[in-house]
């Protein structure tokens, strides 16, 4: 499960030896994130984001559990419990609410960065396909959790966002409407929907935590990849996770917390929508219904499909929106190039940056009204998104001429520092 030169856990204190015999949890920690886990020495800061994602989940769970102690999950009581009680009367309630709401945004910022790191450095390629698949599962669970969480305060956007998203199910032919009503527990989002969303919103983060354990376990079989994309060849290519990456991750975590604190304390409403401070009114539709910013690219893809073609446009939109995430499951087999890192793949690198711009533009369109200009731009960008993963990457993998890879991680590191190999540790 690890490299042969990994340090061995050797408890000295009698209590720790007793523990090691009965329940070797300290050994597990030592081998997973301690001095017993060798990691490539050349990881850059893009590798910090996995730990940051775990930290963001921890923040959400802690703040969420305390918020749940005060939340009333009924259509009549939800808004008042959040904005009347938690924000005003609960000690530090305002802090918990802002931390939780903005924590969701930070969770997505960190996870999107983590995903794009994976895309650039080929982290999804063999032997780490399972890590990638589990990661996509985590992403889907996060989206479900975030959607349900946003409904809970029962503001205008909560209600109407729920109305729109659950409306997708009615696009399924024949059984769609029945499924929609069954899921909602009624004909429109109401008490039944709110209660079950609260239940599932409390549950899913723990499912996410379990899948994260599998995700890290799957990673620790081959070990981490690295920016060069070449395999670890020997002891000189690695450093023990502790103290090298505990120190680096600790620094990254504090920077993350500093930025997080700036938003919580000074710009708590910036990433939200003012309409969610209006209590839900089923009889009054907001001028522009938009989800939270982290759903905007997918919302843009959904709204791009404006023409019927065999299937109704609405169904195309829903299929494309889900398809845009599901296609990620197939990425390890779509991109068959044996070269992992885009550092050595000139054509793939260009396609990657086009994708980044494409997703940002899609995001901008998704947050804008559905005026023809934004719809047209979104249609072009949606087409590129599908072509990128389904056509362009496979073609590049076949036809590309990668630049020469370094023979080892250490060689790449030393070449960077321009020193003789004799001084390598």
């Amino acid at each position: 499960m690890s490299f042969p030169w990994a340090r061995q856990y050797q408890p000295k204190a009698p209590l720790m030896r007793w523990m090691d015999e009965k329940l070797p949890l300290p050994r597990l920690v030592y081998n997973a994130v301690g001095a017993g886990y060798p990691v490539p020495r050349n990881l850059n800061y893009w590798w910090n984001f996995g730990v940051l994602a775990g930290a963001a989940l921890a923040v959400q769970i802690v703040t969420g559990i305390v918020l749940a102690m005060h939340f009333h999950s009924s259509a009549a009581g939800a808004f008042d419990s959040v904005n009347g009680t938690i924000m005003r009367d609960v000690n530090a309630g305002w802090f918990l609410r802002y931390a939780h709401a903005n924590g969701a945004s930070f969770f997505f910022i960190v996870v999107y960065t983590h995903i794009f790191r994976g895309l650039y450095y080929g982290s999804y390629k063999a032997p780490r396909e399972m890590v990638w698949l589990l990661g996509v599962v985590i992403f889907l669970l996060m989206m479900a959790t975030a959607f349900m969480g946003y409904v809970l305060p029962w503001g205008q956007m909560s209600f109407w966002g729920a109305q729109v998203i659950t409306g997708f199910f009615s696009a399924i032919p024949v059984v769609g409407e029945t499924i929609r009503v069954w899921l909602l527990g009624g004909y429109a989002p109401d008490d039944a929907a709110l209660n079950r969303f609260f239940s599932l919103h409390y549950l899913l983060p723990f499912v996410i935590a379990a899948v994260i354990i599998l995700h890290i376990w799957a990673l620790h079989i081959p070990g981490s990849s690295n920016p060069e994309g070449v395999d670890v060849k020997g002891e000189q290519d690695t450093v023990p996770f502790h103290p090298y990456y505990t120190a680096k991750d600790g620094f990254g975590l504090l920077v993350f917390l500093a930025l997080f604190a700036m938003v919580i304390f000074y710009f708590p409403d910036y990433l939200g929508h003012p309409d969610n401070y209006i209590p839900a009114n089923p009889l009054q539709t907001p001028a522009h219904i938009v989800p939270e910013w982290y759903f905007w690219p997918f919302y843009a893809i959904l709204r791009s499909f404006t023409s019927d073609f065999i299937l109704p446009a609405k169904l195309w939109g829903v299929l494309a929106m889900f398809g845009s995430i599901l296609l990620l499951f197939f990425l390890p087999w779509l991109d068959s190039s044996p070269v992992r890192s885009n550092k050595y793949r000139p054509k793939a690198r260009i396609a990657f940056w086009v994708l980044v711009v494409d997703v940002l533009v899609l995001g901008y369109c998704g947050g804008s009204p559905a005026d023809p200009f934004y719809v047209i731009v979104a249609q072009i960008c949606s087409a590129y998104y599908f072509l990128h993963f389904l056509v362009i990457l496979p073609m590049i993998a076949r036809s590309e001429r990668p630049t020469p890879l370094p023979n080892s991680i250490t060689e790449a590191v030393l070449a960077k520092h321009d020193a003789s190999p004799a001084t390598a540790h």
Partner: protein, 286 residues
């Protein structure tokens, strides 16, 4: 095999998008008088709607604090002008300590309200009672139907979160209250449909241009301030906007104070952690 299916799926989505794209383009080309970025013909609202003017409140920005004197004046404006129609249902009388009143003053303010819903202790019939500091501000109308009946079929919104529930916040509230004007003849000529109906009032700061609320602050001296400040319409509007910022965000000042220490602490810690990181990695090329 995967790649073959992927090619078909990718081509399929792209084909449907191309059809939709063609539809969008031809819709745009065929439209007689579009604006390329709205697609809708110019409307009165897009033409005449104004962005809010800055109110310049002490609570603005990252260094925002509360000017308690201004909040007390604003509370006086709310109480004497706005509370006739607008509720403030999330604010309790005891919260008024946050704008500088002491316990005795809060108790006196609460006692000044005698419409708190209650029950006659002898007969059990619905009744009203005087307020206590624990009570929240009472609703001006018994229910939504009563609210509509008294206000030309519009429900005056609760003001507890009004500065957070509108784009522009306090600036919007300030601009709206002071923004009533006569409907310009040029606008009416271009868009006859926007003529202000009877019972509504023209206000370009309101998104729909015609608002059901009559101008609440009509003349100087409508409220006689307890601290002697000159009660111009502009002054009263700023004061009530400041009060409503507090009503929607009573923890603003505390939040900014804690935030200052939290961010400084985390930045210093980050700096130290960076030093520790550099120290740990000192002898390892990476």
């Amino acid at each position: 095999m995967v790649r073959a299916i992927a090619l078909v799926v990718g081509a399929g989505f792209t084909l449907v998008l191309a059809i939709a794209f063609y539809g969008s383009i031809s819709g745009l080309v065929g439209d007689p008088s579009p604006k390329i970025w709205t697609g809708a013909p110019q409307s009165a609202e897009t033409e005449a709607h104004l962005h809010p003017r800055a109110a310049g409140l002490r609570s603005d920005g990252v260094m925002g604090k509360f000017d308690k004197q201004q909040l007390q004046r604003g509370f006086q404006v709310y109480k004497e002008v706005c509370s006739a129609c607008h509720s403030l249902r999330f604010v309790a009388f005891r919260d008024l300590k946050g704008i500088g009143y002491n316990d005795a003053q809060v108790k006196a303010i609460a006692l000044g309200y005698d419409t708190i819903p209650s029950v006659n202790p002898d007969t059990g019939e619905p009744a009203t009672r005087k307020g206590t500091p624990a009570d929240r501000f009472p609703m001006p109308f018994a229910n939504d139907i009563a609210a509509r009946a008294a206000n030309n079929n519009a429900i005056p919104p609760d003001l507890s979160y009004i500065t957070r529930a509108r784009h522009g916040g306090a600036d919007y509230v300030y601009s709206l209250i002071t923004g009533y004007q006569n409907q310009p003849a040029e606008l009416l000529a271009k868009f006859p449909d926007i003529k202000t109906p009877k019972g509504l009032y023209y206000n370009p700061y309101f998104a729909n241009l015609n608002i059901a609320m009559p101008p609440p602050l009509k003349s100087e001296g409508q409220v006689q301030y307890a601290d002697g400040t000159k009660p111009t319409v502009d002054q009263m509007a700023k004061d009530v906007a400041a009060f409503l910022v507090w009503a929607g965000d009573p923890n603003l000042e505390t939040r900014h104070q804690y935030g200052f220490f939290a961010v400084i602490f985390l930045l210093i810690s980050s700096f130290l952690a960076y030093g520790a990181y550099r120290n740990v990695w000192r002898d390892v090329k990476h």
